[in-house]
Subunit: 449 residues, 2 copies
């Protein structure tokens, strides 16, 4: 059932674009879903893609433009006039139109808005542009179906027929009082099953979840997930219904957040993709590597400080990568679990309980790994005291690494900083230096070099 | 507007449960959303939670039971009789009921199914239990609104009123032919705006996205996201409409997959949470630490093999944690980007292009970092040749680490293995050993020790 994009098909399109055979192209692409048109746009050059955008119905191209990668859209919009951009925006829901227009230069933004024929649509877009990014105000769409408490079901259906033409998807019908304040909702199911003569006030559900225009996206996502909502109404400071947020925007938000955390843990800042330019990838990756480098140079210093051990216990130096790896791995494991727990709001109990648990866990892991190190020492004929020293120091390193990995994210979170930055290179680097210092210091105490 | 769960409220509930004051509890919890009841259940002991489940309406408790953590649900179900479990399942949609029943022992499963009064509901549950986990068949619900092509809009509305009572949310109305084969869909919007006398066959949309019962969950999620669907119908081998999947199940699936990948990158196998037992956490974490330990012991061996360098170039040994950290960080960065790219299907172009790009990126990063190492050597008065040697070896290590990080996931993916296992400890461990070997080998060539 799914459309499969083939190289031959793309070549055929490119061929038709080169001879500017608009009719054949319209015919060829006639039946395709906008998401598939978006896939095609991504395979073409910017000029070819712009040709298609100008050629096809704005009903399709406006949706396809929303689906393509930001970079691709930017290049296409650069090639369109303000009037042409305005024509695309007319077809979009206000929330999508705002996302697109926000990417343009301010000067062009004004020109585009002036070119939008539908004045209400233009005013809605301007309103949405004024909300803070990351808040419900910027995420919501103005399109929704609203009815008044005092109407009858029959009148409501008539009015809804009128409104529904402008709303892509009807999820819930929101009920307001005379002043426009949100007072409840009506499910389509209720509407279908109620008597035609009943009044809205008799059948509507006065309990309705909502957010305000200032609610942060993260909180909106949490509420919609917790209460399994597919749409949520948005009100202003006075409780007036001003918009609604649908689950598809939240799905995108959840995915982006998960990807950001994942990249942070992997030591990649900024939102990059495999197909971005070398320069973008360098900017996202080099800073973390420099951090790692400073950590490594710190470790060089630490080891220079313990160089008296070289003469008698050179094995210790061979074990430093192992110690660094253990400190890093344990730290990342601990911090990842805590960061995920904080995000899902399931880190419960007191800090002391958590401390006992982390130390207990580190002891079990550390003793198991320590025994393996002693066994290894036995097989390679290492001096027994040295093997035991390495095992004991490693155990201490593992305990300290687990504590750092656990409590740094918790402390950051309490201070209102995103705990996700404490995963990946940040935790491995600090644990590397600290672990190597602790390793040599404890070895120094036991072996007395 | 949101309900805030306080310690005092929980204490009040515990108090009322201890004196078995059912009426006061019902009064107190009367107005709460099931998701809030679920939060309360998680704060109580299993016996207290079971008391509440038995006390409150199954309409609420069945939904709350779906929301609580698996562990909590398991403990509560252990304390309920098959008849009591059946009563909860009666209230659930079939897809949720199947999720719950699948967690029980097979013997209890049969007893519970026997106790379900609604025979059609029981038969639907048994049908769904037979599909492979991870496929659309196991994910779908049987509840949906279906109409026949030949009906009029008015007849359709009548029939829908009847069907809608059993369907929690009406997304789309699916249209079938006489044999029950899916032939299209009708949006509620179309239904609202069509004339009452029209026939379904005049107004329905014959193009409808669907999946089969055997489609894998990952593919279902991909299609629903790509085409922005809030529900998708499921058909069997003959094209007969048998169920539908809604976006809330897909939201859960996307979140779980993202968390799994994140945990994999952090060296945590299995699905664990911060609040799991020490034993569960050990099982999820220790295997990766043992892998890291073997890597570290491998590095010990490598360094023993280059111990002639100790006399003349002991600094090289001080730099091993730095080299290991660089190899690890670069490897994780490269693999994370590729793993994410593969998941989002945006790794394009030939392997050769990717190779050129990765080498270019590694060169830029490696040269920048190498210059820093040389500057460091200058400040600490290190022999210039040694500094340059370290910088050059590090550059080679970075290039190789980037290539391993990029191509191991690609190769795994081509062989049908989840590339996510190639992130985290797996890539850092192999890159540690390989990096340290390469570092000493190149230093050996340059410095000739």
């Amino acid at each position: 059932m799914q459309f499969q994009l083939t190289t031959e098909f793309i070549e055929q399109i490119e061929q038709l674009i080169s001879i500017k055979d608009g009719n054949a192209l319209r015919e060829l692409l006639h039946d395709l879903h906008f998401a598939d048109i978006a896939d095609i746009l991504e395979e073409l050059t910017s000029d070819e893609a712009t040709y298609l955008i100008k050629l096809l119905e704005t009903e399709i191209t406006s949706e396809a433009l929303m689906e393509v990668d930001d970079d691709v859209r930017e290049k296409i919009l650069d090639r369109l006039s303000p009037k042409e951009i305005a024509a695309e925006l007319e077809e979009m829901d206000t929330d999508d139109a705002v996302d697109v227009i926000a990417e343009l230069d301010e000067e062009i933004q004004e020109q585009v808005i002036d070119e939008i024929d539908d004045e209400e649509h233009a005013a809605d877009i301007v309103e949405l542009l004024n909300y803070d990014e990351d808040t419900a105000g910027a995420l919501m769409a103005k399109e929704l179906v609203r009815v008044k408490e005092t109407w009858t079901i029959a009148g409501c259906v008539r009015e809804m027929r009128r409104q529904a033409k402008n709303v892509t998807r009807v999820h819930s019908i929101y009920v307001t009082n005379k002043e426009g304040k949100l007072t409840g909702r009506l499910s389509l199911k209720d509407l279908l099953t109620a008597s035609e003569k009943a009044h809205i006030s008799d059948v509507f559900i006065p309990k309705v979840d909502y957010v305000t225009v200032h609610t942060e996206n993260e909180e909106v996502a949490r509420i919609m997930q917790k209460y399994d909502l597919e749409a949520i109404p948005v009100v202003d400071e006075e409780g007036i219904l001003v918009g609604r947020i649908t689950i598809d925007d939240i799905v995108d938000f959840i995915k982006e957040e998960a990807e950001k955390d994942y990249q942070m843990a992997a030591g990649i800042s900024q939102d990059v993709e495999a197909d971005d330019s070398i320069w973008q990838l360098t900017r996202a990756r080099l800073p973390w590597l420099v951090l790692g480098l400073f950590g490594g140079l710190g470790a060089v210093y630490v080891m220079k400080g313990f160089d008296e051990a070289l003469a008698k216990y050179v094995e210790l130096f061979f074990f430093t990568p192992l110690i660094a790896a253990m400190a890093g791995n344990v730290g990342v494991q601990s911090s990842a679990i805590i960061v995920q727990g904080l995000a899902n709001d399931n880190v419960k109990g007191s800090l002391f309980q958590r401390l006992v648990k982390e130390v207990g866990l580190a002891l079990i892991n550390g003793v198991a790994l320590g025994l393996l190190v002693i066994a290894f020492g036995f097989f390679v004929g290492q001096e027994r005291l040295v093997s035991v020293t390495i095992a004991v120091s490693m155990l201490s390193v593992i305990i300290v690494a687990a504590l750092i990995g656990t409590f740094v994210p918790i402390i950051l979170d309490k201070r209102g900083i995103d705990p996700a930055i404490a995963t990946g290179p940040f935790i491995t680097t600090s644990n590397d230096i600290f672990g190597i210092f602790l390793f040599f210091y404890i070895s120094h105490l036991i072996l007395d070099f």
